[in-house]
């Protein structure tokens, strides 16, 4: 009699698990994965049990790829496998291991299962069992891949948000003087955020002067210039004067050739000169101390 998939696998479950984990602890001989980190053992073990439960359930239902509803089964299987897979993928990412290692672990399990299946079968193993097991691992591999990609996308978007926030601070330079150092490429999204931040800060600190430093902006083109103009206009409406600083000679030439006029906005070569201008507007000055403390 041909032993069913479920019987074989259930019978040798513990043995298979130990074998799998033992082999994963060292780099595979064919190079399909490098050794699993000890911290991965628990997630892998959990994944194994969930997978076994799924295999068992599916086998007991006498699944047939042709007649049953594979899509519904697949969905159930995916839902069940998602938490352990997610954990595995997250751990691997945290340990800075590659996705191919993760896939290597899973495919190696498939290899072991097949070997066990063939070893146990005196005669030919049920064809549909083989097909089904293969199909099942295909699904898992695809799911792992999707999960890993989704996670990476999430990381990237989180990081770009934090970069955005880091790169647009509004600094309170002195009483009624704000400094907005712009660093990096300014796109529409960032420009809006910059304007929002600045206006909030102007209102909060009742700033009379805002120094906008463009030293860190590599390219000033029409759209960047327009965004800056809008920011300046908005600041003016709140009653804050704007001093631009740090425009490069190339930047100045581009702006003028593009026909962009900053009108009566004060522009200064260096941040230092800009701050001096801002202090003048607020009626302050920096002076030497009469008696030096040292």
């Amino acid at each position: 009699m041909t032993p069913s998939l479920s019987q074989v696998l259930k019978h040798r479950q513990d043995e298979l698990l130990e074998h799998w984990l033992r082999d994963l602890s060292q780099t595979s001989s064919d190079g399909s994965f490098s050794s699993a980190h000890p911290e991965l053992i628990e997630p892998l073990r959990e994944l194994f049990y969930v997978l076994m439960t799924q295999l068992d359930q599916a086998a007991s239902r006498e699944i047939s790829l042709a007649t049953d509803q594979p899509s519904r089964l697949e969905r159930e299987q995916q839902t069940a496998l998602e938490p352990p897979l997610k954990q595995l993928v997250a751990e691997q990412a945290r340990l800075q291991r590659s996705l191919s290692d993760t896939l290597g672990f899973l495919l190696y399990l498939k290899h072991l299962l097949f070997k066990a299946l063939f070893a146990a079968a005196d005669q030919a193993v049920e064809e549909r069992s083989i097909l089904w097991l293969d199909h099942c691992f295909e699904q898992i591999a695809r799911q792992t891949f999707d999960l890993a990609l989704a996670q990476r996308d999430r990381y990237i978007s989180e990081q770009s948000i934090s970069i955005m926030e880091l790169s647009t601070p509004v600094l309170r330079l002195w009483h009624q003087i704000l400094l907005l150092p712009l660093v990096g490429v300014i796109d529409t999204g960032r420009a809006r955020q910059i304007t929002d931040h600045l206006l909030e800060a102007i209102a909060k600190y009742e700033a009379r002067v805002t120094v906008i430093d463009l030293t860190g902006v590599p390219i000033i083109d029409t759209s960047v210039a327009q965004h800056i103009m809008k920011t300046i206009d908005a600041a003016r409406l709140l009653g804050s004067r704007v001093v631009l600083t740090g425009i490069s000679p190339e930047g100045a030439q581009t702006l003028t050739k593009l026909g962009i006029r900053f009108g009566d906005v004060i522009s200064r070569a260096s941040l230092r000169a800009g701050i001096a201008e801002a202090l003048l507007i607020t009626g302050k000055r920096i002076a030497a101390m009469e008696a030096s403390p040292r």
Partner: protein, 130 residues
């Protein structure tokens, strides 16, 4: 012909002596702009006393240069616009030259100095590193 750009302290002086070709005009523009940025000039005087004819292109170059220089944080005056030049420029369009103009170089430098004196960056006693 390369236009010499003279340095008087932190003021730059450029005198255009003859009609410039388009290439020379652009060369002059970028030379001046780079020089302004390099020494962080406070003022620039462009003298066009010797020019009897200023076409619209030249007027635009002068105007653009003035805008660029202002963006780089320096004051600008255009000196010595001849009466005939002034008339043709007005005929061609009112705002052809937006920068401040003075009759001669002497007045130009004086105006520059007054404007520079009212700026924040040189009114500090704390500017010890100059």
């Amino acid at each position: 012909m390369k236009i010499p750009i003279l340095r008087l302290g932190r003021i730059l002086l450029a005198s255009i002596q003859e009609d410039l070709t388009d290439t020379e005009a652009m060369q002059f523009q970028s030379d001046l702009v780079n020089e302004v940025a390099e020494i962080e000039a406070l003022g620039v005087a462009v003298d066009i006393t010797a020019l009897d004819v200023v076409d619209s292109y030249m007027a635009r170059v002068i105007n653009d240069t003035a805008s660029m220089v202002r963006l780089l944080g320096a004051e600008v005056v255009i000196c010595g616009v001849q009466p005939f030049v002034a008339m043709t420029l007005i005929e061609m369009g009112r705002d052809l030259i937006g920068a401040d103009c003075t009759f001669n170089l002497d007045q130009g430098l004086e105006q520059l100095k007054t404007r520079i004196a009212s700026r924040g960056d040189i009114r500090f006693a704390g500017d010890e590193d100059e």
